[in-house]
């Protein structure tokens, strides 16, 4: 399909701006809501008071919400970037002739591993690595690898063998085939894997608050411990908004019409 059929990007500057806005409006609105709540939670004190009328303190103030959001994003981003590099790289490596021996094992492990609940993986990371941010990053990285590896393998093996044959027959080098044919064709599937991975990571990172990482899970955990529902609501709202913002961003990224 021609790009202009689905994505209205016509001539003038103004209309291009409108098209861009139309394309990105949903994630931007979620982002705005997320930031507004992060920095303006105190404005909602009266509302939160309704939930928890008897408690003295309804605003979570142990650490600023902005810091918690920042740490949450940081942990997820580091783990996800590493997972993308290792996962896509690994999947490419085992589909090349040199690494093909490892393909069956890696494919099996990626599919069996996804049955492991992320909480359990997080819990196992603690005895192995201790409390704090590092074990969470490692756990997120390990777990986040699986959907990426799996989808990259699926994307690469889903390419019509005729296309591969033709690419070789036309005299493309291995590198050219990978960059110009295999990766572009597998990209939508790979991105879907990354999206799954990041979504899971955001959720699992929040649970990481129980093993000593400080992030948006903190208000929830401390709300549960102290029986303060207002804290829980603040944390839950922000995590929910963060997840939706990121997910809708991915949705827009993937929405670009793929041809073929």
């Amino acid at each position: 399909m021609n790009e202009s059929d689905t994505l209205p990007v016509p001539r003038g500057h103004a209309s291009r701006g409108i098209a861009l806005w139309r394309h990105w409006s949903v994630p931007l609105i979620w982002l705005a809501l997320l930031l507004a709540l992060t920095f303006g939670m105190s404005q909602l004190e009266a509302l939160l008071r309704l939930i928890e009328p008897d408690t003295r303190q309804v605003l979570y103030q142990r650490t600023s919400l902005a810091t918690l959001l920042g740490q949450h994003v940081f942990v997820v981003a580091v783990a996800s970037v590493l997972a993308i590099v290792l996962g896509v790289g690994g999947a490419i490596a085992v589909t090349r002739p040199a690494g093909r021996d490892f393909l069956p094992l890696v494919a099996q492990v990626a599919s069996i591993g996804q049955t492991f609940p992320p909480v359990a993986v997080l819990a196992l990371a603690v005895p192995a690595l201790g409390f704090g941010t590092l074990p969470i990053i490692v756990a997120l990285l390990l777990y986040g690898l699986l959907p990426i590896v799996r989808n990259t393998l699926a994307g690469l093996s889903g390419i019509d063998p005729g296309v591969h044959e033709a690419a070789r027959g036309m005299g493309m080098t291995r590198g050219q085939i990978l960059r110009q044919v295999e990766l572009p064709l597998a990209a939508p599937v790979i991105f879907a894997g990354i999206r799954t991975s990041v979504t899971i990571n955001i959720a699992t990172a929040a649970i990481g608050a129980t093993v000593g990482a400080s992030n948006l899970g903190d208000p929830i955990i401390s709300g549960i411990v102290n029986g303060n529902t207002a804290y829980i609501v603040q944390g839950a709202l922000l995590i929910g908004l963060l997840a939706i913002t990121v997910d809708s961003t991915f949705e827009r990224l993937l929405w670009r019409p793929m041809t073929g």
Binding site: A166, G169, M172, L185
Partner: protein, 313 residues
């Protein structure tokens, strides 16, 4: 010129191609025919080194193929496969320009060449250049496949059942177009097919393969007359061979000048094959046809007796 000297290919303990020797002259159209699994595709793919041969030598213009860098070798050889193998994420124009781009032609030259090929294959540029492969019909996609193979003007064209997935009508159209193209471009073509009619219609030389060996090769007409064994005979159509032979001969070759009698009412173009003339006679229950030229002007007549083989002297 392509030469194979005693070439063998083994996959594990299986021998796919067993010591074959073959020589395809420059400008010759050579068809490899045989049942599936006879090694014809393997043979083809050894020429551009998609498969490396186990033993023997393969030469292009006197030089062993192994002496070339394999990617550079393939860029010099056009290659067309059954499922087109067009890149689904590229436009038609970009697909056609693939090899020129690999060869780092300047942009303007690639564009000009793409336009030229689109014209050559009857795909109007305005309509097709920016389409994606999934928007094309099977026949159009295969035309693009052929255009892509011809893009860098290779001397050699390898075609692996290029029309195998098309419906009979489209297939015939494309066969005719390929014939015209070959008449104009005069490439060295190696064409793999299991369709004997296709091979007979297109090839200057027929190579029949069976179980990894070449059982017979030669001009189509010679093979029809002299099949070396029962396998070749059955492949050539057994009792249908007469019609096949008739399809190789042109009406003009058997046509006689006007006789004393009235013009026959049924007409046949002088370039039509004899098989078609026979069909017209059968259909209208007549023994005589009027032969006409391209402008539908009578130029002679064809009788059943002459058609059956009283050769023109």
């Amino acid at each position: 010129m392509i030469e194979l000297f005693d070439v063998t290919k083994r996959f594990g303990s299986e021998t796919a191609v067993d010591g074959i020797s073959l020589r395809v002259e420059k400008g010759e159209f050579c068809a490899l025919v045989g049942t599936s699994g006879c090694g014809k595709s393997t043979t083809l793919r050894m020429i551009n080194r998609l498969i490396e041969h186990s033993e023997g030598e393969i030469h292009l213009d006197g030089q062993p193929v192994r002496s070339f860098n394999e990617e550079l070798l393939r860029r010099r050889i056009g290659y067309v496969i059954q499922n087109t193998g067009l890149f689904p994420h590229w436009t038609v124009a970009r697909n056609i320009g693939l090899v020129p781009r690999l060869l780092k032609w300047p942009r303007g030259k690639i564009q000009a060449r793409t336009d030229e090929l689109l014209g050559l294959l009857g795909l109007p540029r305005e309509e097709f250049a920016d389409k994606y492969p999934h928007q094309l019909s099977g026949g159009q996609a295969q035309r693009v496949g052929v255009a892509r193979a011809l893009a860098a003007d290779p001397e050699i064209l390898l075609m692996d059942e290029p029309f195998g997935a098309l419906d009979p009508i489209t297939r015939q159209t494309l066969q005719r177009e390929l014939q015209d193209l070959q008449a104009r471009l005069n490439k060295t073509v190696v064409f793999v097919t299991h369709d004997m009619d296709e091979a007979l219609a297109l090839a200057d030389r027929l190579v029949v393969m069976h179980q990894g060996r070449i059982v017979q090769q030669g001009r189509p007409i010679d093979l029809l007359h002299d099949p070396v064994d029962a396998f070749v005979e059955s492949l050539l159509g057994g009792m249908d061979r007469g019609l096949k032979e008739a399809s190789l001969t042109c009406v003009s070759e058997r046509m006689a000048p006007f006789g004393p009698r009235l013009l026959a009412s049924e007409r046949i173009p002088y370039r039509a094959p004899l098989s078609q003339a026979l069909s017209v006679m059968l259909w209208h229950r007549v023994e005589r046809l009027t032969v006409v030229d391209d402008e539908d002007i009578p130029i002679g007549e064809l009788s059943l007796r002459r058609l059956l083989g009283a050769k023109p002297s």
